[in-house]
């Protein structure tokens, strides 16, 4: 099986290209899959989480995947973040320290993921100087995304993450992808039959949750959206064939041509944000319960 990839940006067109790749290859078993990247003149590094998930799934079906004709600058960045180490290349040092390595986690790896975030994001000298309040909110947001995947995806193939920061643009991109059942199916099992993009919109509202049983839920994605609005960043979610984006308080949703085999959450953080994120109204601990 031969396939190809165009330039992959961290946007709707980039996701569309990746779901097309998934659509072309998803039924391959015990096959050699060659992906021609000669047209991939750009690859936003955090999108390795999504591509990695698609390719890992193919590996689980006993396929051999080869990435061919990679442009030198794309090869450079994907070697620095460790992605191409999975596909026969040697990892090269990241002297500028702008990559957040590509990693795959199992759902029970909460602690390992926490160490990864602390080591690769929070305690790196190369990280842009963010206010303590922003650092705390960002850290919480990343953990909310991971927890969401752990709690809802039912993935048996793992959770994938990768990031990149752009010092001159004051931007940090971070993506978490799972190979689980997707938001639409979760919502469907909760009794609502919604289109994929509608299901994402529903899940991002506070108080809406697909969780049942003894542990309540329903706040994680809502909190994330609120933070992104304050920060001036952007959040994009792809699940099944649904695409949802929130930016500047506005939400966009639409349908991709084919489904993604899980859920992808990607955030862009404005690292120059100087808000303190310290609450002005004091809440007493006596008023909590």
């Amino acid at each position: 099986m031969n396939s190809s990839l165009p330039a992959i940006h961290h946007d709707q067109a980039g996701f569309e290209a990746l779901v097309r790749l998934h659509g072309q290859t998803k039924d391959c078993v015990l096959d050699d899959i060659a992906i021609d990247m000669s047209a991939t003149t750009w690859f936003d590094a955090d999108m390795c989480a999504a591509l990695g998930a698609i390719l890992y799934r193919l590996g689980e079906q006993a396929n051999t995947v080869k990435l061919q004709n990679i442009h030198p600058q794309v090869e450079n960045i994907l070697s620095k973040n460790g992605f191409l180490s999975h596909y026969g290349r040697t990892r090269i040092p990241d002297h500028w320290g702008t990559t957040i390595p590509y990693h795959r986690f199992d759902v029970k790896d909460d602690r390992y993921f926490a160490d990864y975030i602390e080591t690769e994001l929070m305690h790196r000298s190369e990280m842009p100087s963010m206010s303590p309040g922003l650092m705390k909110k960002f850290r919480e947001s990343v953990f909310e995304i991971f927890s969401n995947a752990v709690l809802h995806s039912r993935t048996t193939q793992g959770i994938f993450s990768c990031g990149q920061f752009f010092p001159r643009r004051n931007r940090l991109d971070f993506s978490v992808t799972d190979l689980g059942i997707g938001i639409r199916q979760n919502v469907q099992e909760a009794g609502l039959n919604l289109a994929p993009e509608m299901a994402i919109a529903w899940a991002t509202e506070g108080r809406n949750t697909t969780k049942s049983g003894q542990i309540p839920g329903g706040l994680g994605l809502k909190l994330l959206g609120e933070f992104i609005d304050l920060n001036g960043g952007r959040i994009q979610i792809v699940s099944d064939a649904g695409y949802w984006r929130r930016e500047g308080g506005n939400t966009v949703r639409c349908r991709l041509s084919q489904p993604f085999p899980g859920t992808l959450v990607t955030v862009e953080i404005n690292t120059a944000d100087t808000q303190s994120y310290i609450l002005t109204s004091e809440l007493s601990s006596a008023d909590i319960f």
Binding site: F143, L194, T251, L283, S285
Partner: protein, 121 residues
């Protein structure tokens, strides 16, 4: 009268990062053991740097499925929490109260949710 028990979250989970639902479950199990016996508990967040709603839902939110609001209010206290963490806990508690009022009510506000968004094709 029994002495108030003090539980340190840091001691229970052994980390300053309270992010995993499974860690929240461990805190929850200790709280249930105490509250069932009618013991007052102060839950200390000393040395905790990061909290998620997933952790707090498991640790505290699910108490509302077992105990009444009145009992929780009478027996449970928190201390050493930063203002924004208190605000998060308050939201978790409010959500849990609603959830356990009617845990299977999933169509709430769906139309408003979907009506608020703009479409793009």
């Amino acid at each position: 009268m029994s002495k108030t028990l003090e539980f340190s979250i840091f001691e229970i989970i052994g980390s300053s990062l309270c992010v995993a639902s499974s860690d929240g479950q461990r805190v929850h199990d200790r709280l249930v053991a105490a509250l069932k016996e009618g013991r007052s508990v102060t839950l200390s967040f000393h040395n905790i740097t990061t909290l998620t709603s997933a952790f707090l839902n498991a640790a505290i939110g699910q108490l509302y499925g077992t105990f009444s609001e009145e009992r929780i209010r009478a027996l449970l206290k928190v201390q050493d929490m930063q203002a924004d963490d208190l605000a998060l806990l308050k939201r978790v508690v409010e959500t849990a109260k609603l959830y356990f009022q009617d845990p299977r009510k999933f169509d709430q506000a769906v139309q408003e949710t979907l009506g608020d968004d703009s479409d793009e094709s």
